[in-house]
């Protein structure tokens, strides 16, 4: 069966304006979430360099770590941490959508699964911090 299609030359094709992500709060938060990935990737590169310096011996490692006391590096880590937290929270929320939490025949509200994820995250972080402080 063939379908009648409009004459393409008579159609008006709208185009997305460059500032589309400023038109709605949810679009803006989406773009921020995507942008946070840049900082997470940058932090991972720094972390890989840190591991590389660890392999070069105590002297090289200490010299590299000494740079982190500068205001620029502290600022970078603060921003990367804030963005990593934001990105993680959006990820936990996404997980609650992908994996509906079933309790018997009922599906739990999404925020329950999100909060469970956050609770596990905080517990693991606290455990790592405790191990670091005790060691």
């Amino acid at each position: 069966m063939t379908r009648n299609r409009p004459d393409p030359s008579l159609l008006f094709h709208p185009r997305m304006p460059g500032n589309w992500w400023l038109r709605k709060r949810t679009y803006f938060l989406f773009i921020v979430r995507e942008f946070t990935s840049v900082f997470i990737a940058a932090y991972l590169i720094v972390f890989l360099v840190q591991l590389y310096q660890l392999g070069n011996g105590p002297g090289a490692y200490q010299a590299f770590m000494g740079q982190f006391a500068s205001p620029g590096w502290i600022g970078f880590h603060a921003v990367a941490l804030a963005f990593a937290i934001y990105h993680s929270l959006t990820w936990f929320y996404t997980t609650s959508i992908v994996i509906p939490l079933r309790i018997g025949a009922m599906v739990a509200p999404r925020y329950v699964f999100t909060l469970l994820n956050v609770a596990v995250w905080l517990a693991v972080s606290a455990a790592i911090l405790a191990i670091y402080l005790i060691w």
Partner: protein
């Protein structure tokens, strides 16, 4: 019944005459129970018979009357004029779609995408009718039932900036229907849908803005369907790599 007046700023596009759409304002006096579609029909019947738009059921079932109302995708049959505080309401065709005339969009691209996901039950072998129905448990029904309510109104496409940027993206409604049939215990056609879903323009094009689910008038939640399709296709891919002999 008391009447108020509103100015409807309606997008006009006359193919062959206009190079770009323009806006035309109409003053409409309306009673409290009028929706935007009532006002458009009033204009069409009493003010300007050349105004073109789609509508049919007037009860949020057919999905024909979707338009942008003050920049938001809405079914105009369920958008009450009294909802809007402003004296002026902007009525535009659904965003991101080619415009045929005035408020009428070209749906043919969507229909091609819909067809590409084979949104119907596919069976390897059909039972003889004498063997009875394909029975389902309530749990099996629950797995896909939330995704059956789609009315193809395309509001989700207008809310999706990814579709606006990448018009080849199969999009929320078609992918939600693909998921609906994949999850149906009577269906055996997930392999037939695999290419469309796993294609560059399939589920992986979605970066989860989530607005498709917000604007859906039937609470279908296409965003959830797409994220679950991603998990399904990823699992299928891993299985095909690790257990190539175990594929259906």
């Amino acid at each position: 019944m008391s009447e108020r007046t509103v100015s409807l700023k309606v997008t006009r596009y006359r193919p062959g005459q206009d190079s770009t759409p323009t806006a035309q304002s109409y003053e409409v006096a309306y009673p409290d129970d009028w929706v935007v579609l009532d006002a458009l029909n009033f204009i069409k019947d009493h003010v300007d018979g050349t105004l073109s738009f789609r509508w049919s059921c007037r009860m949020g079932v057919c999905g024909s009357c979707g338009m942008m109302v003050n920049g938001e995708p809405r079914l105009t049959c369920s958008a009450f004029l009294r909802e809007f505080d402003s004296q002026e309401i902007r009525i535009e065709p659904l965003a991101h779609f080619p415009v045929i005339r005035d408020l009428v969009i070209d749906m043919s691209g969507f229909l091609d995408k819909l067809k590409s996901v084979s949104p119907w039950i596919i069976r390897d072998t059909e039972k003889d009718p004498s063997e009875g129905e394909y029975l389902q448990s309530p749990k099996q029904l629950d797995a896909y039932h939330p995704f059956t309510a789609c009315i193809n109104c395309l509001l989700c496409y207008s809310a999706c900036p990814i579709f606006g940027l990448e018009t080849d993206f199969i999009g929320p409604a078609a992918l939600a229907l693909a998921h609906r049939y994949n999850e149906d215990s009577r269906d055996q056609g997930s392999a037939a849908r695999w290419n469309a879903i796993n294609d560059h323009n399939g589920a992986w094009q979605c970066t989860f803005v989530g607005e498709c689910s917000v604007v859906c008038p039937k609470s279908v939640d296409p965003a959830a369907a797409i994220q679950r399709l991603k998990v399904d296709t990823a699992k299928q891919w891993v299985r095909s790599v690790l257990l190539p002999w175990g594929q259906k």
